[in-house]
Amino acid sequence: MSRPGFVLEVDERTPALLVHEGEGFRLERFPLGTRVVYPPESLPGIADVDAEIRRALLNPHGIEPLPELLFPGMRLTIVFDDLSLPLPQMRTPDIRQRVIEHVLELAARAGVDDVELLAANALHRRMTPAELKRTVGERVFRAFFPKHLRNHDAEDRANLVHLGTTAHGEDVEINRRAAESDLIVYVNITLTAMSGGPKSVAVGLASYKSLRHHHNVHTLRHSRSFNDPPNSAMHHSYNRMAALLEKHVKIFTIETTLNNDTFPSYVNFLNKREWEWTLADQARYLAVKRANDMAPPRLRRQMWQKTVAPYGVTGINAGLPSEVHPLTLANVHRQQLTEVNGQADIGIWGLPYICPYNVNSIMNPILVMSLGLGYFFNLYRNAPIVRKGGVGIFYHPMPNEFHPVHHPSYIDFFEEVLAETTDPVQIETKYEEQFATDPWYTHLYRSSYAYHGVHPFYMWYWGAHALEHLGDVIFVGADRATARRLGFRVASTLADALEMARDTVGSSPSITYLHAPPLVMADVR
């Protein structure tokens, strides 16, 4: 039986607690009284995943069983979540591969010839053939790549179709092949409560024209949080778009959820509560930390990027997106939700080495901002863990490093835009259009493996709510020049950061530390 999540109050018995900081981690002694939000322990994974997939496909919610939707001569498009999920990548076979294989078995039995597989990468970089193969598996890859297993291209005007506008005037434009299919089968992994449901097709297969309606500063500032769909303006927009989509195309979605087995066994201490570390865990901590600290940066990055999570699958549900998603969210909450009493003056987050946009890549400073002030800050329901005007303390070395192939527009965003201003609204009004329509970035997005020109803007907007909410942002251990460019202050140690925070929150602030990963979502009461 997995233990529920809970809030630890640091007392004199509490040993030093683990904090992630990029491609590394450290032990930190927190002031007495600091509250630490721990996730529920990893739930047991489903023992027979294949049987569960079959059950889900044959007993869907709100729609006929999949075999009844398949017929000879139909156009079937199987769409799957791209490289940004899950994090870290899961041990093969990937759950998407398993589901897709089952869907294809049924399609073959029904005599479906016209099958296309699409990665729902929206404005993310294209997945490389190797990454596609890892995700869908050898058999599927061999049978469909390269002609019928492709990345979605949001800049291929000929292959996009405008389905109309919502009552709020939002354009719904998605991939033509998907829109003109008799059936879209969407294979999803919902790692956080923001993913899945209406987001899958409406965002994953959309174009810039469609995405800008919800990926903007105004919407994100009114998404509190974007991990809580009922209170997220972004999800309200997704819902409107999904409703319009439903009128044009039939979608059969298969949503899966994972447990919290985020780290492999050799670094199992990262999954455990510190006071329960055995002697072996402590020895392992010392050995891994030393080796990690001493390793050359390149090797260290490779080691972390090669880390695969032994995730267990906690739920597989199929059917209409609107019917399936509540079940999926319940599973996510079961694994990640921890109740927290009230907000604190200071919130602390340790940022790990990975975010959705640096898989097999480099976490550049803008991605660090988006991970900290975007993803981690928004891991809440009801209210942020830190009060309005409070201080956010983040751990990350934030080196001034960019992947020139994956993130070309990020480099220019950092050098040109952030040098001018860090205000999201100004950035949006002054620069977004220019980057979004830059032909060179578009070319790199379509033919190389680059994120779309507008993507760094979205990353900045991702943190817009936190920037507005927090009175001060301090990065512990970050590169000073880089952090300054982003508009943040830097401290060498936690003690220094707390000292700096005194100006904003006084001399005896309440502190809450969100102990993640493994992911935890604070349900702040």
Partner: protein, 301 residues
């Protein structure tokens, strides 16, 4: 950070085994600690038996006898006893087992296994090793949580005698508490005799919470009764009652003398030594009253 600092940070708040105490706020979510199975077979090998005999004669008895003033009575009842037996006694102190081991005839002391609480004596490895080596202790599950198969019947079958404390735990207040049925059941099912023993003064000499007898060599009494055999067709419950009565009589002998206690038993006026009713301090007060020095028969005043 230097490795030394790293180790210092890691080990702060942890003991030498690397264990940290659970923070108070995390206590409700503490992992249930399953008592570990601890093998005790090694403690009954010839080598361990020889070591135990050495410890018993060279350390356990001399130390116990030097720190207390034991009065041992009734050992002669064991002269005619043959084969394995179950020794039962009231239990109020960690002194109880050493006193019995020190006062038993060697042929029984050498072949005695002591039932010890699995959750107390076998929860830490060092304690388990020490208990098994010195007392030939074997684990007894008190709370029935783990459904561990008891070793007791096997040990009896192999010719070992057992020392059991049927109350299941040391008395909180020095008085006797309800006897559990385990010992009686074992005796009835295996047909082995039970030797009742009453221990007096051990609570006063070294109660719970003390790890060494109080200074001044307090008097303690170890009184053996006649072996009791389960009668033909006698039920476990009835036999258990006989055991309670036997220990109670031996207990009462201290105040009433041998004959009067026998008479009280025969009359049915023998009271169970459960202490005075009322507040706990009065019970403890009475239980710690020093044993009266027997002065009536002194020849030289």
């Amino acid at each position: 950070m230097k490795i030394v600092d790293e180790i210092r940070l890691l080990t702060r708040g942890r003991d030498w085994r690397g264990r940290a105490r659970t923070p108070r706020s995390a206590e409700p979510w503490r992992l249930p600690t399953e008592p570990r199975e601890f093998p005790t077979r090694w403690a009954r090998t010839p080598l361990a038996r020889a070591a135990r005999e050495g410890i018993r004669r060279g350390l356990l008895k001399p130390v116990t006898w030097s720190q207390t003033r034991p009065v041992v009575e009734g050992v002669e009842y064991l002269d005619t006893l043959q084969g394995p037996a179950i020794f039962i006694a009231n239990h109020a102190s960690h002194l109880d087992a050493p006193l019995i081991l020190g006062s038993l005839p060697a042929r029984y002391a050498r072949t005695l296994a002591v039932g010890a609480a699995a959750d107390y004596f076998f929860d830490a490895r060092w304690r388990a090793v020490a208990s098994a080596l010195v007392f030939n202790a074997f684990p007894i599950e008190r709370h029935g949580s783990r459904r561990m198969r008891s070793l007791a019947p096997t040990l009896l079958d192999k010719g070992w005698s057992l020392l059991l404390f049927p109350e299941g735990t040391r008395s909180q207040d020095g008085w006797m508490h309800t006897f559990r049925m385990g010992a009686a059941q074992l005796a009835c099912s295996r047909g082995v005799p039970v030797v009742p023993i009453a221990l007096r003064g051990t609570y006063s000499a070294m109660p719970r919470g003390r790890n060494w007898p109080r200074p001044g060599r307090p008097t303690v009494v170890v009184r053996y009764g006649r072996p009791l055999h389960p009668a033909e067709g006698e039920g476990t419950r009835a036999f258990n009652e006989r055991l309670v009565t036997a220990v109670s009589r031996l207990w009462a002998e201290e105040e009433m003398g041998w004959y009067r206690s026998l008479r009280a038993e025969a009359d049915g006026t023998l009271k169970l030594p459960t202490g005075p009713s009322g507040s706990s301090w009065r019970r403890i007060w009475e239980a710690t009253r020093p044993l009266a020095e027997d002065q009536s028969d002194r020849i030289w005043p």
